[in-house]
Every structure is written in C-alpha cells, then in structure tokens.
Symmetry: C2
Subunit: 149 residues, 2 copies
DNA sequence: TACATTTGTATCGTACACGATTTAATCGTA
DNA sequence: TACGATTAAATCGTGTACGATACAAATGTA
C-alpha cells in the first residue's frame, strides 16, 4: 500500500498558485511602471504615500508588511530619483519621516490610469469583473488573517 | 472638482493583496522548511521533482514559471546540499537533466506532512476549508490565464 | 552541406525579501 | 534621576527574481 502523496501536488498547495500569481501579476504591471521609471515595490510605497504624505518608515512598513531592512534601501533609491525625502522626525529622533517631493506627488497623475489598464488586460478573458472583485475580497481577508501573526 | 484617485487605494488593486498574501504565506511555510534545511523556492523545485524525477531545467521552469537565470543558481545550491545532481543530457547536449539523489527522494517522506500542517494553521480562523479550496481554484485559473502571456 | 535561426543554459547586474544583529533614542519604573 | 527594556532604522549576509546578454548545440532551409 503506497503512501498518499497527493497533497504534495504543486497545485494542491495554497502556496504555489499564490506565489506564481503574485509574480505574474507583477509582470503585468511592469511595462506601465517602467514608463514612470519605478519598480513594482517602489510603486507600492508610492501608493501608500499618495494616500497620506509624510509617514515614518514603520508606518509604511506596517501598511505593506515590510520591515526597515527591505524599505531603507528601497526608499534611498526613491530619494535618488528625487521622488521623496527622508529626514529624522524632530518629535522622535529615532523615526525617519518619508515625504513626497513635488515630482513624487505629480507622479500620481500619471499613475492613476494604471489600475484601469490592468483591469482591461482581463477584458477578453474568462475572468469577469465580478469574479475578480470577489477574489480580491477573499485575498484581502487572507492577508488580514496572515498579517495578524 | 477633484479627480477620483480611489482606484489607487492599496487594497483596491489586485496586485497588493496578491503580493502580500504570497509573502505572508511563504512565511507560514518557512519554519517547516527550515527543519528540512531548504528555502521556499527550493521546496517548490523539489515538489516538481517528487512528482516526476529527472527533468530538464526548462521543464522545471515551465512548471514554476521560472527561467534559467533564477533556476540555475538555485539548483546549484540544491546540488551542494546533495539533494540532486545536474548533468548534460546525452540526447541533447544543450539540456541539463536534474535528478534527485537518494536523500533528495527521501526528503519527500518528511515533507508530506507540511500541507496538512499549513491547513491546520487556518483551523481556528474564519477561513473554512471550502472557502480556501474555492479560493485556490480561482487562483489556479488566474495563474493559467496570466501564464499564457 | 553551409549558414542563419532557434533553443537550452549560464552569466551579469540590479533590486528586492528577510533573519540576525547593531546603534541610537525613548520609555518605564524603581 | 539612573538604568534596563523597548523601539526605530540601518547594516549585513544569503537567496531569490528577472531583464539583458552570451554561447554552444541543434534545427531549418536554400
């Protein structure tokens, strides 16, 4: 009697489809982001700052579930592109305040069309707008659950 | 009249929840994989090889949507751990055949409990087994769509 | 059969992720 | 008010991802 290994089948695990979907979706965004001269994780940081300017590294990290070891070099690259500035908070010298520059804020105008274009990529597929939205809802719930740690 | 920027809200985009869910799920697997002495992408490669031993780099890459620039160094690390061997195919000298060693095959026995343990992490959450399975189904469909490119 | 094209890996450079550690500032409390 | 504990960033090392490129083997075709 052979052991049952079916649970090890690639698609039967939660992890692989998530991993692949994430990477492939990132690739979908890439051409649009190249027009803006930024990478995908950099885009996420900008999304957070476009929502609310001037946040600390920790605040951005909490929102994206990333820590300073990932964010610090990434933020420095965005600083080099002159999309934001980094400065110690006067209230708490430990905290670094990240603030969009004028061009960082202006980039939002160019980015606003991206979500639309991504949705359009699904227009001629079997994925309906409704299905995508329901899917996204479950995803967000999953992220909340996993994020509680 | 202010422009509508709501589509730029982090959670309203498909990309972010996918990205976060993928990373957080990987973290869920990590402690179990550390017991086996492997990383998460290495685990995925092993899953592919446990299904069918002796595959070329391209075959593994097709399955995981990864290319040789990612796989080659990763496979070399698994070779160093003596979990697999890499050798040129005699039929086609361009192709590299990746074959599990005895210990590479033996590791499957230790890995078989992992999916179960992951599912258990969701036991006391609001995510039911059914919801997870439906979710996984949509995910797989999404991966197929995106993978067609 | 020459030779341009394609295919299969590998290499290189850049940019994340993330565990572990370090350093400095702040906080809590005796 | 000392001082240990906590917190916020940064640094370091390892391991992916991935675009661009290189190169050799195989293939297609005039």
């Amino acid at each position: 009697m052979e052991k049952d290994f079916s649970t090890l089948y690639l698609e039967n695990q939660l992890c692989f489809p998530l991993y692949a979907a994430s990477r492939l979706t990132t690739k979908l965004y890439t051409p649009f982001l190249e027009d803006l001269g930024i990478t995908y994780p950099q885009y996420l940081v900008l999304l957070v700052l476009w929502e609310k300017n001037s946040q600390t590294v920790t605040e951005i990290g909490t929102r994206l579930a990333l820590e300073s070891n990932t964010l610090t070099p990434l933020l420095k690259r965005l600083e080099q592109k002159e999309l934001l500035t980094r400065s110690r908070s006067s209230k708490d010298e430990r905290a670094v305040l990240v603030t969009l520059t004028a061009s960082g804020q202006a980039l939002k105008e160019q980015a606003v069309c991206i979500p639309q274009k991504i949705m359009e990529s699904f227009a001629n597929t079997s994925m309906s707008k409704e299905e995508l939205q329901a899917f996204q809802k479950t995803l967000t719930k999953l992220v909340e659950l996993l994020g509680e740690e």
